[in-house]
Subunit: 410 residues, 2 copies
């Protein structure tokens, strides 16, 4: 019998009506003859509300207790979902991470999955029940409650789909798929029917917020097809699958904007082995998340200019860290620009298509948008622009690559 | 080293400030050199809010899922309490019922405690930590999450105090002890310094809502002294302890009022063996909770009049049940009066003091309050009065037994 994993995010469970709607969808899939496992997030803003509670008590709560607190959000959701399915006359059972046997390491607030037991799920599925799993949570080998990090219910769903050998893992959310750009900024954005895991990972890294990266990595590793779709409609969403030959024909498949960044520039960094490593080790030690890194030769090779982006919220701490480093390492100066955004074009076809970068720079130039920094990888080109230019930059790149038209290569 | 169990109810944990206050109290006790175990309820109205959520989903939610839902309330509290103690610079660890190893039977929403493991608590106490336990919850032998019934965090605290051999179990609440009557109705009511388990059980049954009966039964069975006191002050509250000789000298120690009752009268019930049993078995099958039962001979002995009280909210269903019974069993008629209250005088000394009942009836007669029904046990006399007469009846009995004065026998 085919097995389906359905994951419902917080916006799909924000109130009783939405929970009933999700329950009806699950029941329909069950009646079509499939075994069904649901993974649910906390309702609406429940997790944020719990974090607010914690912050009212302590500015720096112990991570173990934060996990103890936050996992209640998903526990509420599984219970309510089971009640909704029961109220509709079908059998369901809810399971916490501990009851399921989702074992993680002991890194509270960002635990990694070690093993998932099939035993309990298989038993309940064999009894004809819809099994409802609390996303985001697990237990460590000592029975301590852990969480997998913000947004990690997607990861739970993908991991379960992998372990259970599900035919597909459906991710229900408040948008109806992955778009060529954020439709709130680019009205002409078009829904993508099929996208590769790698491309989706780059889109996520470039700022497209639809799915959690770790979930995509999991799905890629185990070859689980993901179907990102809306909880409000029955229309097909976006399939995230392994790369196919047809995909490569498309040079640029999507564009993304990451806002509220700070550009950190270290001027005249001594250009000798180990300096960059010391800089980023120190930055990482302060839990500052670094986005792109760019380095250029300066002063004929004895020094370099090194810049990286981080979130604007971390600019102040980053400045302190970098100024201390400047003194220690003999760096010429530290400049931080808090008012920037990153616009990226992503596409597997870039590997084989030439001129993609040139086309992007030309489009920005035509729109008189200044590029402050450039970084590229095999399938991504990113430009740092002024914050106020970001949305316009996204629209003009989307236009330049004609992303509103269905690609000829398909 | 002395061990202390402190239980904090929902009103003592209603916001961040109150949680910090409770944490400071616990830390103070720890610094005085005691091992400390805290038992906490859900914050403020959290449990009611969760029930409202469930009712929005289903009019009759499965009990297993109700337990899954409601136990999150206490889990939130233990995490926040641990954060508050940590923020004050002391070590604490929170434990759910499952992590503690509080094993119950499988009767969801009204489970009974079977065993409590000392192992984890002892280990954490040995590490110098304040241990914070989620009240109200446990797991059954199969790992299913259970609850002990409304208000049962008191029971968790008393049971833990028994298992751990605590010197005392302190119950922190929003009143500063047990009073001779409800001070909101009887302004002259006086705080009782010391009361016996049996007396407290009767007071609770008579409507004094300070403590959960099962907790008192637990404490009595294992000889754990309970100290009911206010979370807002440092003043001594009421000690609930085993009966002492001095206590018996006091005829009446307290009075209580139970409002919103319905008086159910079955007229001309055939007076033969098994009829009463059938009646109350049927009533119990409908989960109708019966308060006092009174039976009188009627019609020279061939029939009896049988009456009992129940909560006014259950009057309608009780009428249906009794009318069906009347047809089946040949009962003359069913009368239900929904507008009554019960006023009770409670005291161990009644056993040896004569005239207590007479004094009570006389006081009510002087106040021109009609007595609709009378029931007595070894240490309680209860009268059913009109609902509107209840508060006045309570005050006049309180006066009649001079409960505002410290008893001469003490």
């Amino acid at each position: 019998m085919a097995l389906l994993v359905q994951k419902f995010g917080g916006t799909s469970l924000a109130n009783a009506e939405k929970i009933h709607r999700a329950a009806r969808r699950a029941i329909r899939a069950k009646l079509e003859g499939r075994k069904l496992v649901l993974v649910v997030s906390a309702m609406g803003h429940a997790t944020d509300e719990l974090i607010t509670l914690a912050k009212a008590i302590s500015s720096d709560p112990p991570k173990r207790e934060l996990d103890m607190l936050l996992t209640t959000g998903e526990q509420v959701s599984i219970a309510l979902m089971a009640m909704a399915i029961d109220a509709a006359g079908h059998e369901a059972i809810s399971l916490t991470g501990a009851q399921l046997g989702l074992v993680t390491d002991s890194s509270h607030t960002r635990a990694r999955i070690q093993t998932i037991s099939r035993e309990r799920i298989d038993r309940e599925l064999a009894n004809g029940k819809i099994v409802i799993i609390a996303g985001f949570q697990g237990i460590d080998p000592g029975g301590e409650i852990t969480t997998l990090g913000r947004g990690a219910s997607d990861t739970t769903a993908a991991a379960l789909a992998a372990v259970l050998g599900a035919d597909v893992c459906e991710i229900y959310t408040d948008v109806d798929g992955v778009y060529t750009a954020d439709p709130r900024i680019v009205p002409k954005a078009r829904k993508i029917e099929e996208i590769s895991y790698d491309m989706m990972l780059e889109m996520a890294a470039a700022g497209a917020g639809v799915m959690h990266s770790r979930a995509i990595e999991f799905a890629k590793k185990f070859g689980v097809p993901l179907h990102v779709r809306s909880s409000m409609t029955d229309s097909k969403g976006t399939m995230i699958v392994a790369e196919t030959a047809g995909m490569e024909a498309i040079a640029v498949q999507g564009v993304a904007l990451k806002e509220d960044l700070a550009m950190v520039s270290l001027i005249a960094v001594p250009n000798k082995p180990g300096v960059a490593a010391r800089i980023f080790a120190e930055v990482a030690r302060h839990n500052i998340i670094v986005d792109d890194i760019v380095q250029n030769i300066y002063d004929g090779g004895s020094h370099a200019n090194l810049s990286f982006s981080t979130s604007a919220g971390e600019a102040r701490e980053t400045r302190h860290v970098c100024e201390r480093l400047a003194t220690t390492l003999g760096i010429g100066g530290v400049e931080i620009d808090e008012g920037v955004s990153k616009v990226s074009a992503v596409g597997i076809g870039m590997r084989t298509h030439t001129g993609v970068a040139a086309a992007m720079f030309e489009a920005l130039s035509h729109a008189e948008i200044n590029i402050e920094n450039i970084s590229t990888s095999e399938i991504v080109i990113s430009c740092i622009v002024r914050r106020e230019d970001g949305p316009r930059a996204l629209r003009c790149i989307h236009d330049a690559f004609k992303l509103d038209e269905v690609a000829a290569g398909k």
